[in-house]
Amino acid sequence: MDAMKKMVLDYVIREYLEEDDDRVIKEDTPLITGGIVDSFSMVSLKRFLEKKYNVQIPDADATPEAFDTVNNIIDLVNRFLKK
């Protein structure tokens, strides 16, 4: 697993799962549609990515679909990293 994937996965688990939550989160686990992250709490994830990878993700691109899995999130970050 590459470093970025691990970093995002670790953040999602630490930030969104309660201590007694035994759900397993993998890179293709639906986060928003799966009810793990709601749109209200999604803002901290966006800010984490922007700070960590020094990118600006426009609100129009920070859609629930773009944040729905760790894989989607990596694609999103990479799109803006390359710009």
Binding site: Y16, G34, G35, S41, V43, R47
Partner: protein, 415 residues
């Protein structure tokens, strides 16, 4: 015609999708004043059924109290039906200010401003007091009206795990570069019935120089020894910077809400909060009824004490019967079922047995956390609760959930 057949069909499809997903909400028509026992027409057109109400926010049983009704009638005669104005043009009567002063005294704050509802208070308060130099840090289970209010505000948004003080502390540390930090929480959480740890929150706020905001809608009037709210219960009365609450639950149950707190923050709401500025003044009849509510609850804690007794009795009945409930100290008692269909089926069967209680499921509560939320009232008598538990046991046996824990219920019905 602008509303084309195509547009109509699209909306019809949206409504069908809601029905298919089990998210369609139907109203039940109540043919009586609010109370412990009500007559209900459900489904529409059905003959009336007398049921015990276990789902109202009528915590103190004041919604139809004769003295409150009489005060409202007198208010109607002496102060008229409507104000035909927003507050700051020609909508403020003497009684509006009287009620604000009583709320200030009751909540232990510095000043209070009435809003048409607590939903409106929450929609306006953040935008009126915070800017893009500030951060709002909210518990993840706060009420939807707070979420909406935060979205209308330019301050940075952040959240912490439900009642997780370690996570909140991390967030406060992370946002030390902001001008103001506002910690935002419900006093009593409406779906789980648990209380915010306000003593710890105030401690953290002092340590990290933050403001504290509490929506005490499900607490004002009955939580704490004299019913002042969650801050009284937690020993931090007078230390909360902003409290929003409603007159639509324990405090008469009609409508209206308020922002109460530090003088300057309330003044900023009076100057800038859009739901206050652009809504009519709360009707005199409601203000008059609410003033009587405060006369009653300042005079005696009898109703609040009866509610507590009912709450303890009902929690014990459910536990003794073997139901899986959320532990807590509030009159919101969720019976956990985890599966959405099971919650709906059990609510329907309870209704057939004469008990009116509602199933809640995603998106109102997290996925796999479906439940029936029961709510106690000072209007309930012991015989109401005894009848209710009989019905719960009968229906619980039918679905074989009595004595079963979370894992066992999920094994039988899934999440």
């Amino acid at each position: 015609m602008a509303y084309s057949i195509k547009a109509r069909e699209k909306f019809q499809l949206d409504i069908k999708e809601l029905r298919d997903a089990g998210l369609f909400k139907e109203e039940r028509y109540i043919h009586a004043p609010q109370g412990a026992e009500i007559e209900v027409e459900y489904p529409s057109g059905a003959s009336l059924k007398k049921v015990i109400n276990m789902c109202a926010n009528n915590y103190l049983g004041l919604s139809s109290h004769p003295e409150v009704v009489k005060a409202a009638q007198e208010g109607l005669i002496h102060h008229g039906y409507g104000m035909s104005s927003v507050r700051f043009i020609c909508g403020t009567q003497d009684i509006h200010r009287q009620l604000e002063n009583r709320l200030t005294e009751f909540l232990g704050t510095e000043d209070t401003l009435l809003f048409p509802s607590c939903m409106d208070a929450n929609a306006g308060v953040f935008e009126a007091t915070l800017t893009d130099q500030d951060v709002m840090i909210a518990d993840r289970l706060v009420h939807a009206s707070i979420v909406d209010g935060m979205r209308l505000c330019k301050a940075m948004q952040d959240t912490f795990k439900h009642s997780d003080m370690g996570h909140l502390e991390e967030k406060l540390q992370e946002h030390q570069d902001k001008r103001y930090r506002m910690i935002i929480t419900d006093g009593v959480f409406s779906m789980d019935g648990d209380l915010a740890r306000l003593d710890k929150i105030v401690e953290l706020a002092e340590k990290y120089d933050a403001l504290v905001f509490v929506d005490d809608s499900h607490a004002s009037g009955f939580i704490g020894k004299t019913g002042r709210g969650t801050h009284e219960h937690c020993g931090v009365f007078g230390k909360i910077d902003v409290i929003t609450t409603t007159l639509g639950k324990a405090l008469g149950g009609a409508s209206g809400g308020c922002v109460s707190g530090r003088t300057e923050l309330v003044e900023m709401c009076r100057q800038r909060a859009r739901p206050y500025l652009f809504s009519n003044a709360v009707a005199p009849v409601i203000i008059s009824g609410a003033l009587k509510v405060f006369d009653l609850i300042f005079k005696s804690t009898e109703r609040r004490d009866k509610l507590e007794k009912n709450m303890l009795y009902w929690r014990q009945l459910l536990k003794d019967a073997g139901f899986d409930i959320k532990e807590g100290e509030s009159p919101i008692v969720p019976v956990m079922l985890y599966n959405a269909k099971l919650a709906q089926d059990i609510a329907r069967d309870l209704y057939d047995e004469g008990i009116y209680a509602v199933g809640f499921f995603f998106p109102v509560v997290p996925k796999g956390q479906a439940r029936i939320r029961t709510q106690l009232s000072a209007a309930h008598e012991k015989h109401h609760l005894d009848k209710a538990i009989e019905a719960f046991i009968k229906v619980g046996r039918k679905y074989n959930i009595i004595g079963k824990n979370k894992k066992e219920i999920i094994e039988m019905y899934g999440m």
